[in-house]
Structures are given as C-alpha cells and as structure tokens.
C-alpha cells in the first residue's frame, strides 16, 4: 500500500511538471503570430505587401461559415490556440480559386474609438498574414476593422470583452 501511494504521487508530480513546462513554453516571446518573428511566413511581416482591390459593393457576402479568432487585450497576435481556426479558413479558400475572404477585426469596448479602429485593423492583418503564409493568394484577402463598434457580447466584464476581441471571416464571391 505504502509504495503504491508513493508511485501515485510520483506520477502526479510528473504530469504536473509536464503541464507546467508546456504552460511556460507558451509564454515565450515570439509564439503566436503578429508580433515576434513570424514562423512559416518566409520572412513576410505584417505591414509588407499592399492590399488588393476591395470586392465589388454588389458582391455576395456570406458570414458565419468559420469560427471567430480571439485575441488578448491590446494584442494583435494570433494565439497558438487559435491557429487551427485560420487554417480551416485557408483550407476552405483553397478549394476554389474564385472569390475571397474579408477578415473583420474587432475590439472590446475599452479605449479610444480611433485607436481601436487601428487595433482592429492590425488584428485582421495578423490573420491575413497567417492566411498568406498558408498559401492563400494575398489578392483574395481583404481587411475591414470595426474597432469597438460591433460587439457580440454586451457585458462590461472580461467574459464579454474576450468574446469581442476577435476576427471574423466573411466570404465574398
């Protein structure tokens, strides 16, 4: 009995060490996309390469096909945990060569309206850069910031703010 309990504690300790270790790793600088060196972008920074032409005003727009990507406060980094959502969009876009995607950048309610417009645009552009790195033609990706003007959650707490700091995908044909 005594030795079995000892073995259990050792196992718990090992699991805890692994969890703590991987937790710390996520905090290292440069993980996530948008701020540090962006892996997989072949040296391409956000901010390099101009935007193409906006889609026609009469273009058909389809929202809600893909999950929103969420961001940390005052940050335009695509978190590691959010990457798969962008990868799903890239895969979807690659199935066809026509049309494209509008990446909408949004912010929480805190801070100046104008700064949030620019921050939302940076979030959209961070997602755009990752889509590009996954092989999506840059000309098919438009960015549109709504700043803090279109919240999806109307509370005044972190739970709502976290839902509002997001990038959404709207497909256009």
């Amino acid at each position: 009995m005594h030795s079995k309990r000892w073995m259990t504690w050792l196992a718990v300790g090992l699991v805890a060490a692994v969890v703590v270790g991987s937790g710390c790793k996520k905090k290292t600088a440069g993980s996530g996309l948008g701020e540090g060196d962006i892996g997989g972008l072949k040296g391409l920074n956000i901010g390099e390469g101009g935007l193409g032409t906006r889609p026609d005003l009469n273009a058909t727009e389809i929202a809600g096909q893909f999950a929103a990507v969420y961001f940390d406060y005052d940050s335009a980094q695509v978190r590691d945990t959010e990457r798969a959502k962008v990868e799903a969009v890239a895969a979807g876009l690659k199935k066809s060569t026509s049309g494209g995607v509008i990446v909408e950048g949004h912010c929480d309610e805190r801070g100046s309206a104008e700064y949030n417009l620019s921050l939302g645009e940076r979030r959209a552009m961070a997602v755009r850069a990752y889509l590009q790195s996954l092989g999506v033609d840059a000309a098919r990706i438009q960015t549109k910031s709504f700043g803090k003007e279109k919240p999806v959650a109307l509370g005044h707490d972190e739970e709502s703010w976290g839902k509002n700091r997001r990038a959404e995908f709207v497909l256009f044909k």
């Binding site: 801070g111 100046s112 309206a113 104008e114 417009l117 709504f146």
Partner: protein, 421 residues
C-alpha cells in the same frame, strides 16, 4: 519627470490646478468626501467651486423685456459664468453690465460694460438681429465682453460630436452650451471621429456608409459630402492642416495602419510613419502646421502612447511615458496637447510638447474622461465623460473650476470636436 509648471509662459500652467498628477490622490479623497454628501453626478460636479480667480459682475441694470430678450439675457449670463472669469455680484462690483434688450420684430440689444477699478466703459455697443437669433446674439455678446476685459472667448464656437439617440451613431452639432442641437448626418451606419476644418465650415469623419471605413468631408452650409479617402483597408483620421491645404490620414492600404498626408483637394498620400507592427491613429496638427501628434502602440509594451513627427516625415519623437495608455491627442492653438491617459480610469491630461511636462486636468471623480478637444479660449477642454456606461459631453476648466455637463442633451454622446474660433 518634472512637476514644475511655473516656468511655462502659457497661462494654463501658471495657476494652481485641480489635480496635478502629484496631487491626484488628495483630490480624489476630497472629491469622494464631497460626493458622499451629495446625490447624483450632476450635483457632484456643480456644487464644488474651484479656485480660479474671478471678478464680480453686476448685471441687474441690464433690462430685458419680452421672450426673446429674456432668453438673450439668460444665455448671456450663463455664458459669462461658464467663461470662468466672472461671478455674479451686487451693485458696486468690479464690472457692471448696463443696457437694454428689446424686441420689436427684431431683437435689439444695447450693451455697456463698466470697470470700477479703471473707472471707464470697456464696451459700448448696439446689436440688432432677427428675433429668432437670441441665442447666437448672446454668445456673440459674451465673446465681446470677454474681449473687452482682455480674455479670449469661446461662445461663438460650435461643437460636432457623435450621438446615438437615433439608434445609429450619427453626427450632431451644437453651441458651446449644448444648445441649438442639430443632426447633421442620417447615414444609418456608423459615424466616428468628427473633426472641424480650421475655418469651421466643414467636418471630416469616418463612416461605414459604403460598408467600409472611409473618410468623408461634409460642407456644412450646403450639406454636400465627398469622399476624402476610400483606399483598401482602413481609412480614418481626416485632420485638416491649420492652413487648410493638407489632410492627415491613418491608412492601412500599404499593409499596416500608418500616418499619411495628402492634399485636401486630392493627390497621392505621402506616408510619414513606417511602422509594420503598430496601430497608428488619431492625428492632430501643431498650430503652425509643422508637426503632427498621433497615437501608436509601436513600443515594446504594445500599449498606445503619443508620438509627434514632422509633416515631412523623419524620426518620430515619443511624448508620453506615464499612464498605461495615452490616446486621442488634440493639439491646441495655445501650443499644448490635450489627451486621454489611462490612470485607473481615463483622465484628461495636458502636455507641453517642448518640455514634456504634463498634468491631469479632469477631476479624478471615478468617471472616465476621454476624447478631449481644446475650446477656442485656450482655457477650457470639451470631452466625453462616461460613468455607469452612459457617456455625455463635459466642459473641463484647466484653471480649476469644476467640470460642467451639457445637461440638456439626452442620450449617449462621444468624440466632441470644437471649432478653432
């Protein structure tokens, strides 16, 4: 950083002010104690009388008869109190306002201002306007009275701001006391960040009228509108230079939000900042048009701070270090930059770009003060004040009088901009 503002020539820094950063804590406690004894935010900001020097004025011998003349007199008295330079007084005061206001088809006002210490008339003028123009005449006379005592007025100014009372964010204009409110846009979209042109005839703003964030220019007299910037990505900013020839814009067309300058009439935008990993926003011109102040989160902290750059580009200079966020700069004709600083709540601060000395001018009363814009008198600042998630427009006094609400406005109001004159 130094806390000594006495060396500055600008009068704004020459007076003991409500809430320097150093004095913030004691002021906060004082205001909290006052607030405990009062009911409601209105009373809280009106009862406390600040330390700015005032002269007594006796207006008992300004006689108004009839509806329009009475309105004229009431608005004039409110303006004179709101100017911060006067306090109502009994006969024998330093200043006496004497005259008549009468209506007979037109509104005629005979106005004289007497100084007891100088033993002479400082103003003697007759005004005749349409009977419907009582308010605007009162504002004009208030500014003439201020000029007669050697002070700059602000009551001929106009405010443009964002209002939500229609259900959408639209632009509205009003007088410096909140009166004469008019809705300017009916875009049924999202209107943001309005700014006056230097001549006060036109307004720039960002709107999603055509589904994308574009910058528009409205001519107020004709209500005609044209697009100033509709490049791919984000178009915002839209600050017209003091000489009226250029417009400063925040554009993302080249891949990241950066600061650009372009001729107001057209031409290719010239990029001033070269950030690839920053959110740049909120341009405002220096009074001589040589520099632009703006917000950027380019520093490693990734929180927005104020920077200034020459209108021909070059290396930007960082202006702020205190406060986790410093946003929404407005460079006044007095040379000082008003901005919102996140110090727990957002507070309005004033910064001298030459010395980088700054001080807080909002009261630290638990509300959030944002989006400042200098009034034409160079003493007051118009801003938004948010408490309990309701936002309205307030007049702040940099010489220490308590903030005044634009009380007659119902609904939520944001982003005020004031004309230069």
């Amino acid at each position: 950083m130094r806390e000594n503002f006495q060396s500055l020539e600008n009068p704004v820094f020459g007076f003991p002010m409500l809430g320097t950063l150093k004095g913030l804590m004691t002021r906060k406690i004082l205001l909290m104690v006052l607030a405990l004894g009062l009911c409601g935010a209105q009373a809280q900001v009106r009862v406390v009388k600040g330390g700015a020097t005032k002269a007594g004025i006796d207006w008992s011998r300004l006689v108004a008869s009839g509806a329009a003349p009475s309105e004229f007199k009431r608005v004039l008295e409110d303006d004179l109190i709101r100017s911060g330079w006067f306090t109502p007084a009994a006969p024998g005061a330093e200043f006496s306002l004497v005259g008549t206001a009468q209506e007979s088809g037109q509104l005629t006002a005979q106005i004289q201002l007497f100084s007891a210490s100088q033993q002479r008339w400082l103003l003697s003028k007759q005004y005749t306007v349409a009977g419907t123009a009582a308010r605007s005449l009162a504002h004009r006379v208030a500014d003439d009275i201020l000029a007669a005592i050697g002070r700059k007025g602000m009551f001929s100014g106009r405010i443009v701001m964002v209002g939500t009372r229609s259900g959408a964010k639209e632009l509205y204009v009003c007088d410096m006391d909140g009166g004469n409110l008019q809705q300017i846009t009916s875009d049924r979209s999202i209107c943001l960040a309005p700014r006056w042109s230097p001549d006060g005839q036109r307004i720039t703003y960002t709107s999603y009228l055509k589904r994308w964030p574009d910058v528009y220019l409205i001519d107020l007299a004709s209500r005609s509108r044209r697009v100033l910037a509709s490049y791919s990505g984000l178009n915002s900013g839209g600050a017209i230079s003091p000489d009226g020839s250029l417009v400063a814009l925040a554009l993302s067309k080249d891949g990241s939000p950066n600061l650009y300058v372009r001729g107001l009439g057209g031409g290719a935008p010239v990029r001033l900042t070269t950030e690839t990993r920053a959110a740049i926003a909120s341009p405002s011109w220096s009074p001589d048009g040589s520099h632009i102040v703006y917000t950027s989160d380019q520093a490693s902290t990734a929180h927005p701070q104020l920077y200034m750059i020459s209108r021909s580009g070059g290396a930007p200079k960082r202006l702020t270090t205190r406060g986790s966020q410093n946003v929404a700069p407005n460079w006044g004709a007095n040379g000082l930059i008003a901005y919102a600083s996140l110090l727990g709540k957002f507070q309005i601060c004033v910064l001298d770009p030459n010395t980088l000395d700054s001080k807080m001018v909002s009261p630290g009363d638990g509300a959030s003060y944002e989006d400042p814009c200098w009034a034409p008198d160079g003493r007051h600042i118009v801003c938004s004040r948010t408490q309990n998630y309701r936002s309205t427009i307030y007049l702040l006094d940099t010489l220490g009088d308590p903030p005044v609400a634009f009380a007659q406005l119902s609904g939520d109001w944001y982003s005020p901009s004031v004309t230069a004159k």
